[in-house]
């Protein structure tokens, strides 16, 4: 298990608690999503990575998600598209 906690806090503005839980979620993503995360950390542009009609770029621009949350979201959309769309629309 790779530890992303420090980088989530220092580079992506996560609180300690958010980083601890998100680190677990990142490590539990499928291989494709983990490789996208590694590309991001290497400085690559990943905004076009998508599942069905939703891309990382869309999630960042239209849903105001951080790029880390966007990667997590693509991973979740692959598992349960309709269910996770409800989660994305629950921002209240």
């Amino acid at each position: 298990m790779k530890d992303y906690t420090s980088i989530l806090i220092s580079d992506y503005g996560f609180s300690d608690y958010e980083a601890t839980l998100t680190n677990i979620d990142l490590n539990n993503m499928d291989e494709d999503s983990i490789s996208i995360l590694e590309k991001l950390l290497n400085g690559d542009d990943i905004s076009n990575y998508s599942y069905r009609d939703i891309s990382i770029g869309t999630l960042v621009k239209e849903y105001n998600l951080s790029v880390i949350a966007a990667i997590l979201s693509i991973n979740m959309l692959k598992k349960d598209y309709d269910g996770f769309i409800k989660v994305l629309n629950s921002n209240k």
């Binding site: 608690y17 958010e18 105001n64 997590l72 921002n91 209240k92």
Partner: protein, 264 residues
């Protein structure tokens, strides 16, 4: 959503309460319905409620004293155990008492919605202009505040991303995306957001004074901890945001109120 996560949002400063001092200036409406804020509410003297609470709490003090004597007579003398039992007894008494005074929060909120059901029925909502909708939502929020046992100052609207539906900032106002005024398809979402954000305000209050809001200490402590330091922002992890206790509670609460509010 709660305050810190609201992000940079352009707010409307000219809300209905700012423009009209809580009441629209004209009685004529596009829909032909009266403004929701013009419907008369029964007037309750705050002094009467305060007196009722004072005498009720005094009665609870006497019950706790009697309980202490009873427990001591039964041989419970360890101070720690005795205090824990008495605290639990006092909590139960106060929770029940405040529910008797104010009524169940969820039931009372559904009653608020029922009283305004004329305005929130789809066929009427569709005919209302944005000013009427603003007035109806503001009236609903003020009315819900009484059910929540504190003063809600009203609703305010912001121009936000369509995926951002609302937030509570801690200033007494409930913030809703302004598209609920312009798009009649957002009727249920608007009502849901009033009760969802109102519930967040309630959670804040109950976290610090659980008995007065008829919430048990375990739940209150869980909420307090969730607000700080364990709040998870939507924009950092939507799934964890969705699953945290205060969000689950606010969603369930709003769904229940609407289900029992007679407008669907």
């Amino acid at each position: 959503m709660v305050s810190s996560a609201a992000g940079s949002i352009e707010k409307f400063n000219d809300t209905i309460s700012d423009r009209f001092g809580n009441k629209p200036v004209s009685n004529s409406t596009t829909s032909g319905l009266p403004y929701a804020s013009s419907l008369e509410e029964p007037y309750v003297l705050q002094r009467d409620i305060k007196e009722m609470i004072q005498s009720g709490l005094s009665a609870i003090d006497r019950r706790v004293e009697a309980k202490e004597d009873d427990l001591k007579n039964k041989g419970i003398t360890d101070p720690e155990a005795l205090n824990a039992m008495l605290q639990q007894f006092r909590d139960e008494c106060e929770i029940e008492f405040y529910n008797d005074v104010y009524g169940d929060v969820s039931v009372k909120c559904s009653e608020c919605l029922k009283k305004l059901s004329q305005h929130f029925k789809k066929s009427n909502w569709d005919r209302m202009d944005s000013l009427e909708r603003e007035d109806a939502l503001n009236t609903l929020a003020l009315s819900a505040g009484k059910a929540f046992r504190f003063d809600v100052r009203g609703v305010r609207f912001y121009n936000g991303n369509p995926n951002s539906r609302g937030y509570y900032s801690g200033d007494g106002y409930l913030y809703l995306n302004s598209d609920v005024l312009s798009d009649s398809n957002n009727r249920l979402d608007a009502i849901d957001t009033v009760f969802h954000e109102g519930r967040h305000a309630f959670q804040h209050a109950a976290a610090n004074n659980p008995n007065m809001y008829s919430i048990d200490r375990i739940t209150a402590s869980q909420w307090k901890n969730n607000f700080y330091p364990n709040y998870i922002r939507y924009e950092q992890n939507p799934m964890r945001y969705f699953s945290q206790p205060i969000e689950v509670d606010a969603r369930t609460f709003a769904e229940t109120v609407i289900k029992n509010g007679g407008i669907v």
